[in-house]
Subunit: 211 residues, 2 copies
């Protein structure tokens, strides 16, 4: 079972590494980090690079595709080669997944038309113009498509997907192996629970954050 | 404020990337991935490499040090150059942190002697022989030392540390930016809550998992 995790410049690293960490532990998983060109791919902070070991042309039929998000997504919405690749590999996947604004890339490629999907909360209004049906949930399954909300939601998404692929017991073993028993120090992880001033501050910086 | 995240062969990627993702967003943060040698550093699965951009010699006085864990830790316990570096930089840090079995590296360097600390649950019995005082908590602060339990606990640790460094509001903004409102699909993240058969299966594979 090949699991392809897309990398692109100015991605958010945890969007890719969270699902990678979970899905790479599935029995029989062969995970590949893929980008337009092999080599280091840098995150939006600039101080972290993941190594892509395959180019788009090298990965033609993954069983599972994971598309992360991050500010670099904005520059890729009209990028023909990437869009063509997303469409071509999606035609052969068993599961197509995204984290954060990765769902906007899937939607821009026409893969989420009429489908229920989610993205990071700051970008929620960008799904409908791309043809998807926005759902305010952390993880949204619609057929073989599974989309996650912002950044850390990719871990929840990948565990749920692991359960669908390999069964509950295997997913639970992966969860226990990663000791995923989260205890956030603050109740600030969603706009519904974070202090209003914190939510307002992020909303004010929205355009800068998304680009 | 320089934040150094140590990388080593056969580390667990999320141990490093979880805290990186949080701490790199602190105001004034300059984050550096450091390893014995610059270049790609591979995780224990083998299909993911992070790029170290500095060698140990390049990083002499970080304000914050983060030491991840992973099976590769076992081979480093007696490694003189790394131990010397840990001692030297720890002498200048404001905070020294670890995730998962990274605390065993700190302890082996003599930095946790008599201090309360944690590690991943499967390795909990390895802290006391190294002079630390094991505590069954997800995140343990003792003076400037902060240790986290397995893998994903590094995210909770880093948010708590962000709060100590930059205040609650900044930490909450980082949490909201990463939409860290976890919803694990199973109650399987700790040996206290996971199904007994899942816990037993991991215990049976303990030596293989830790090496």
């Amino acid at each position: 079972m090949q699991i392809a995790v897309l990398l692109f410049e100015r991605m958010t690293a945890l969007d890719a590494v969270g699902p990678y960490e979970v899905l790479s532990r599935l029995p029989g998983a062969e995970t590949v980090l893929v980008a337009e060109r092999p080599g280091p791919v840098r995150n939006e902070v600039g101080s972290l690079a993941l190594l892509a070991e395959a180019s788009l042309a090298d990965v033609t039929a993954p069983d599972v595709l994971v598309v992360p998000g991050g500010p670099g997504q904005a520059a890729l919405m009209d990028r023909g080669p990437l869009r063509d690749w997303l469409r071509a590999v999606d035609a052969r996947t068993s599961w197509t997944a995204s984290v954060c604004t990765g769902s906007l890339l899937l939607a821009a490629a026409g893969l989420l038309t009429g489908r229920r999907a989610t993205t990071r909360w700051l970008a929620a209004d960008r799904l409908a113009p791309l043809g998807a049906v926005p759902v305010d949930q952390r993880v949204v399954f619609d057929g073989k498509y599974v989309t996650a909300a912002g950044v850390s939601a990719g871990i929840d998404m990948a565990l749920a997907l692991a359960g669908r692929i390999a069964g509950e017991t295997t997913a639970q073993a992966i969860q226990l192996g990663h000791e995923y028993d989260p205890r956030p120090p603050y109740a600030a992880g969603s706009p519904a629970t974070a202090p209003p001033a914190v939510v307002a501050a992020l909303r004010d910086r929205r355009e800068a954050i998304l680009r």
